[in-house]
């Protein structure tokens, strides 16, 4: 299956819904979208990967690149993923400690808002 991308704003956080396969062929499209969102000053991102069927290290590279870009603006890039086969590559690479990975979009938004409320 090819890659389908869409994005919407919820409570000030940009939600990127990804469906299909993220690999060396399709990853550039996701990268372009993330760069476009950051260029439009969207620095709070949630990437919903619940409909992702395949993810390789190229896709990981794109997500890491997105995270670097938003963090430079004190932003965040959280993931929504409950699929074991997708989570496995995050575990193998140690990236579970780099990304906030949540079970639902609502949970990701709530976690982000809770973090914002924390005293400095």
């Amino acid at each position: 299956m090819d890659l389908k991308l869409s994005n919407s704003n919820k409570d000030g956080i940009e939600i990127v819904d990804v469906e299909g396969e993220i690999d060396v062929y399709t990853a550039p499209r996701l990268r372009e979208l993330l760069i476009e969102l950051v260029n439009k000053k969207n620095y709070q991102l949630v990437v919903n990967m619940e409909k992702v069927e395949f993810l390789d290290s190229t896709g990981l590279g794109v997500l890491v690149g997105g995270l670097k870009r938003v963090r430079a603006h004190d932003g965040s890039l959280d993931l929504v993923c409950t699929q074991e086969r997708i989570l496995k590559i995050f575990r193998i690479t140690g990236l579970t400690k780099v990304f906030g990975i949540h079970e639902s979009v609502d949970q990701a938004i709530a976690a982000r808002k809770a973090e914002k409320r924390l005293p400095a």
């Binding site: 396969e21 690999d23 060396v24 062929y25 990853a27 550039p28 990268r31 395949f54 390789d56 290290s57 190229t58 990981l60 590279g61 794109v62 890491v64 690149g65 995270l67 670097k68 870009r69 963090r71 430079a72 603006h73 086969r85 496995k88 590559i89 575990r91 193998i92 690479t93 140690g94 990236l95 400690k97 780099v98």
Partner: protein, 163 residues
């Protein structure tokens, strides 16, 4: 003799085809359903690495994938045509299973968040990340010189009644 051999032009779009073929042959060979995702991901990583190396050094040469089931193990060999001296692959090494970077925090993958935002972010993580993923998925991984290129051999051993 390999059960199935595939050669493909080094274009990203063909990596998916290689993954699909590998998964289909693995399933046909009796590899357990629970391992098919691992075969698919590992073969995809090896082919992606080969495609990038070919695009840099020899875009006109094909990449070869051979898949073999000998009853004891399922073996996939991805062979590129990039000479070892042009490669950053450590030819002649065997990566023990489970050597993925899972214990780290991303730093081992070249993920440096202190980088200025303006610095170019590479599309792919460093090449050894793909190898770490492969090592974390296959039972055995070997990298060797193969003719004028380099081969990555991935092995899944038979377990009890099935793989």
């Amino acid at each position: 003799m390999a059960t199935v051999e595939v050669t493909f032009t080094p274009l990203p779009v063909h990596v998916r085809t290689a993954r699909l073929v590998a998964t289909a042959v693995a399933r046909r060979s009796g590899v357990a359903e629970s391992l098919l995702d691992e075969v698919r991901l590992a073969v995809g990583e090896a082919c992606s690495r080969a495609v990038e190396a070919h695009q840099r050094h020899c875009p006109g040469q094909p990449i070869r994938v051979s898949l073999t089931d000998d009853g004891e193990q399922f073996q996939v060999v991805v062979t590129d045509a990039v000479q070892g001296s042009e490669h950053d692959l450590p030819a002649g090494v065997s990566l023990p299973a489970g050597t993925g970077a899972g214990g780290g925090n991303g730093a081992a993958l070249g993920v440096d968040f202190a980088d200025p935002v303006g610095s170019p972010v590479p599309l792919r993580l460093p090449e050894d990340v793909g190898l770490a993923v492969i090592a974390g998925l296959a039972d055995d991984v070997r990298i060797a010189s193969a003719g004028h290129g380099t081969s990555v051999t991935m092995i899944w051993k038979r377990r009890t009644a099935a793989y």
